[in-house]
């Protein structure tokens, strides 16, 4: 079931939550809405679900306009950050709820419901918890039950609002992979909201990066990470170093470096910002080519398999570099040492508003 979102606008009082959003979600895809809090991603998800009405614009499921339809008629499965399980019902009754509230004519028999619920509980690997109550389960188990409950009604679209947001890191990572595998099995069109870029990168087929009510970029996780469309995406998706400079006829001058900026051929002596990912910064003891600047090592810290090096160039700009452990061992850097820093994959943007 594809979803077509057209020119959605939504205001809450003075606050512009969604500013003319258009987005197509093809059948069977797992799409992440990624953005900082307050960017409108949850509002968009709730509008798709029919829990919120847009001020203008339309939503269509598989070509059929659903903008005016009530949530219960949209056949969406919704998974909440805080599970929203029915506390007074057993796990079995929670999952069966969507089937037992159907009108008598379309309601499956008791035996069929039982079979369907047990199948779903097996799918989420929790069939042994059928008789328990939600308060007896861990957070990760509750969220899997919430997912089984949403899937029980065979939704056309699965919507997940920060589904792993309330879980601790380890469980979150497990569930992330598990959700990806589950989606590969059942292929239901899914949209999930997250503010965690790692989560969006790892789980989704496509990432929609949002900021203050607008879409900044739509693309595969690789595209979004390696060729960000806007400075915002560059900064939001992954760590980044930022240099100020000027751009003139396709060349940017950043400090002592001349960097090609073929996209900005028209600009003449305009202020610009250059972005470089920390792992795209080379550190050497000998100057190698033109694109290197001298810098001083300020601090070295180890984070898991990575070594993060903080440096400062001659203009006192802070530079962050990430090396692999073996790379760092090879270099044998020490704090206070003078080295050369060579950025690669530099992306130059005109400074906004100038």
């Amino acid at each position: 079931m594809s979803i077509a979102i057209r020119n959605i606008k939504k205001r809450f009082g003075q606050f512009n939550a969604l500013n003319d959003i258009s987005l197509d979600i093809p059948t069977g895809e797992l799409v992440a809405l990624l953005g900082p809090s307050g960017c409108g991603k949850t509002t968009l998800l709730r509008i798709i679900a029919g829990m919120e009405l847009p001020d203008s614009g339309s939503i269509a499921f598989h070509g059929e306009d659903t903008t005016e339809k009530h949530t219960r008629e949209r056949q969406v499965g919704f998974v909440f950050q805080h599970y929203a399980l029915f506390r007074h019902m057993s796990v079995f009754d929670n999952v069966a709820f969507g089937l037992t509230v159907r009108p008598r004519a379309s309601r499956p028999s008791k035996e069929e419901i039982r079979q369907r619920v047990m199948d779903l509980l097996k799918l989420v690997q929790l069939d042994w918890l059928a008789e328990r109550y939600p308060h007896e389960l861990s957070g990760g188990q509750r969220q899997r039950i919430a997912l089984a409950r949403a899937l029980a009604v065979e939704p056309k679209v699965l919507l997940l609002d920060e589904p792993f947001g309330a879980l601790d890191t380890k469980v979150r990572k497990e569930l992330r992979r598990w959700l990806r595998r589950l989606h590969d099995e059942i292929h239901v069109t899914s949209v999930f909201v997250t503010h965690d870029q790692d989560e969006a990168m790892e789980v989704s087929d496509r990432v929609v990066v949002m900021n203050s009510g607008k879409i900044e970029q739509i693309g595969s996780p690789d595209e979004v990470y390696h060729s960000p469309a806007t400075p915002f995406v560059y900064q939001f998706v992954g760590n980044v170093n930022l240099f100020h400079g000027r751009v003139h006829e396709g060349w940017a001058r950043i400090g002592a470096m001349d960097i090609p900026a073929p996209d900005l051929g028209q600009a003449t002596d305009a202020p610009a910002i250059a972005y470089v990912r920390p792992h795209d910064i080379w550190i050497t003891r000998e100057r190698e080519g033109e694109l290197c600047v001298p810098a001083v090592v300020k601090d070295i810290s180890r984070i898991g398999s990575l070594v993060r090096v903080e440096l400062e160039d001659e203009d006192h700009n802070e530079i962050q570099a990430e090396l692999t452990r073996s790379g760092a061992q090879h270099l044998q850097l020490n704090a206070g040492e003078k080295v050369f820093v060579c950025p690669r994959n530099v992306k130059v943007f005109l400074e906004p508003g100038k």
Binding site: M51, H70, R72, G77, F78, F86, F97, V101
Partner: protein
């Protein structure tokens, strides 16, 4: 016995004081009640509490209290729902009004209700035209007991309703439940224990109510004479032991009913945890 270490100090003195205090205020007066009624002897006791006039008063007291508590359970829930769920001008005033029956001297409430519901009163005149007599009938008693019991249900249900998770309702809607199914299968079971508590409190209050009822009831023996009034009547005739005998039966009946409600509550709360 090994003294257990606790981060909450003062268990011994606190419990000791609690028991002492409860004894002083509740247990000793109640046991005095039993002792005094025991001076009657079994036969006389039985004759007193099974006299037709006494039986009629029991039936009236418990019957009207039950009806009033049921009315309060329904409309108190509605009031709580409106106060929690909707925003409107004067909401705070309405919220404050709910507590008024707590604060108003019950005699004042009784006189006011009688004046309004008497055959020539503001509301009573229209009801009388329809052939409905409120003041000086059991119906009037129900009105008075409903008035004094209202805050109990509202104030016990209100916080639970306010805590109710909006998302749970949205989840039910996304699963295809109609509004009615959401209310009956999701919201109602959640507020049930609080509603039962409110019901029990309103009922207990209504059974013991005296001040407001005697003005509106008319107090006709066998028809609109409540048990507490009968106790006062006995006292005024210096039949102290008979008065306590009637009171003991009320006490035991109330205790059994409250215990039953508590069990029901325990059962429904256990499933919510």
């Amino acid at each position: 016995m090994i003294k257990k270490h606790s981060i909450l100090p003062g268990f011994g003195p606190a419990l000791g004081f609690t028991i002492f205090y409860l004894s002083l205020v509740v247990l000793i007066p109640l046991s005095a009640l039993f002792l005094k009624s025991a001076t009657l002897g079994w036969e006389q006791f039985w004759a007193t509490v099974t006299a037709p006039r006494v039986l009629a008063s029991y039936k009236l007291s418990f019957g009207t209290a039950l009806i009033a508590a049921l009315i309060n359970a329904v409309f108190g829930l509605l009031v709580a729902w409106v106060l929690v769920r909707y925003n409107f001008i004067g909401k705070r005033v309405v919220d404050a009004l709910v507590d008024l029956p707590f604060a108003l001297p019950t005699a004042v409430a009784g006189i006011a209700l009688t004046a309004i519901y008497a055959d020539n009163g503001w509301i009573g005149q229209y009801l009388a035209a329809q052939g409905i007599k409120v003041a000086y009938t059991p119906l009037g008693i129900v009105v008075a007991l409903t008035f004094i019991g209202l805050p109990f249900v509202v104030r016990t249900v209100q916080p639970v309703l306010a805590d109710l998770d909006r998302e749970v309702e949205e989840a039910a809607a996304s699963l295809g439940a109609t509004r009615w199914q959401t209310i009956s299968r999701v919201i109602f079971p959640t507020i049930m224990p609080a509603l039962l508590t409110g019901f029990a409190l309103a009922f207990a209050r209504a059974v013991g109510e005296y001040g407001s009822v005697i003005f509106i009831a008319g107090n006709m023996p066998m028809v609109s004479e409540i048990a507490p009034l009968l106790i006062i009547t006995k006292l005024e005739q210096f039949q102290y032991a008979e008065a306590t005998a009637i009171a003991v039966v009320m006490l035991i009946a109330s205790f059994i009913l409250l215990l039953a409600i508590n069990l029901l509550q325990w059962w429904s709360r256990r499933r919510l945890a």
